[in-house]
Symmetry: C2
Subunit: 232 residues, 2 copies
Amino acid sequence: MTDDPVTQRGIPDATVARLPVYLRALSALADRGIASVSSEELATAAGVNSAKLRKDLSHLGSYGVRGVGYDVEFLVHQIGRELGLTQDWPVAIVGIGNLGHALAGYAGFASKGFRVVALFDVDTTVVGDVVAGLPVRPLSDLSALAGSEQIAIGVVATPAANAQDVCDRLVAAGVRSVLNFAPCVLSVPDGVDVRKVDLSTELQILAFHEQRKAVRDLVGTPTDELGARVAR
Amino acid sequence: MTDDPVTQRGIPDATVARLPVYLRALSALADRGIASVSSEELATAAGVNSAKLRKDLSHLGSYGVRGVGYDVEFLVHQIGRELGLTQDWPVAIVGIGNLGHALAGYAGFASKGFRVVALFDVDTTVVGDVVAGLPVRPLSDLSALAGSEQIAIGVVATPAANAQDVCDRLVAAGVRSVLNFAPCVLSVPDGVDVRKVDLSTELQILAFHEQRKAVRDLVGTPTDELGARVAR
DNA sequence: ACGACTTTGTGCGCTCGTTCACAAGCGCAT
DNA sequence: ATGCGCTTGTGAACGAGCGCACAAAGTCGT
């Protein structure tokens, strides 16, 4: 019954988070016409340890050839399949402000099977506009469209004040994956995934390290490694 | 010489990454006029375990009162100070395309001591435009401005192809904190921090889980907890 | 055909972070 | 003043993930 023994049993979250990075590095190699790559080369391209890379890939199956490396094309296909990029993922963006505009026009969406199929906003002055070839629809339309299984991923690009309400509507409409750009915590029922992209948080983390570096410079203590921290 | 015993000795990265979330939750409470909060309440507001919250806060010092909770105003101040938000952080944005525009106009920047002071682009058709009150300058101006210690954080909002070059220029100009929106790995020398914000990666992670959920639904196995994973 | 070389896949110890559970500490009511 | 109830701060157990190091397994040259 298990259609695939490897696929079924859990891939660690940390690994899943890195697969897109590997995929991108591999795609770049493929574009340059490179057919085969060693774990060492791919690891440096992806900015990770080679052992970690190998362990990550081993979760997908034994796709490497000892003494040779990995077939680039094949690996691209396998990772893509594992991430579900062979299918088409309809995406809806809610909140067509500054950021919503940019997201709607973002080419990176289309590249990997993600397709923006609907735009929503509460602001009646925006509703009806055509952005990136799609009409901006009122938020009330959401339930109708999503109910027909047309939306897999909802992107929340509204101000924080509206985010939870918008999220609730998305969930009510059957969306089970939400990408949240609003600077707030969204609470969702079980079975719904939320990922947060938070510019402000990232800046504050950078500020923390920057401040620390400034202090170090002043005191002039080169104790400890104060090396680069390529933050996760 | 140690001006503050607690501040000096390392706060875990995982904790630092959560401090902005706590800060936001606390600010929201303060706006609602709430003066005191328990770890339990704050934890739920921030979407974390209360024990974790307490341990995180304990790294800043013993700022809570047993039997009572934490003083909201005071904690806001302390976290803000720890994150370096009492200072002003000059930010430069490179790459004034779709995303760069949105970032330049993003209000969240200004809110916490981050101030966009310069915009750069290589595209001569964009250079000279005024975006969000600032002129877009040619990339060659970067070294001059940054050399005078005017830029603390560089934001890379260019296509992936230009990102490494832009990053190198930023670093050469003395920038030691980079926020990277380009879908690629940036390599930087020791002492420089890079944080990545990657829309495409987040979508792919969501797709992975979505696909898995779809499989579960088909097979109809409610084994394991297939609960909500509020992803990190 | 065979040995030397290369690279994968992984067992193992270690570090880091999370969670539980509880003692220490504080305020308040009596 | 004293004891009670509440909440913090933290010791300790647990678990996840990372990286070293090496055996297994394949290729290539001779």
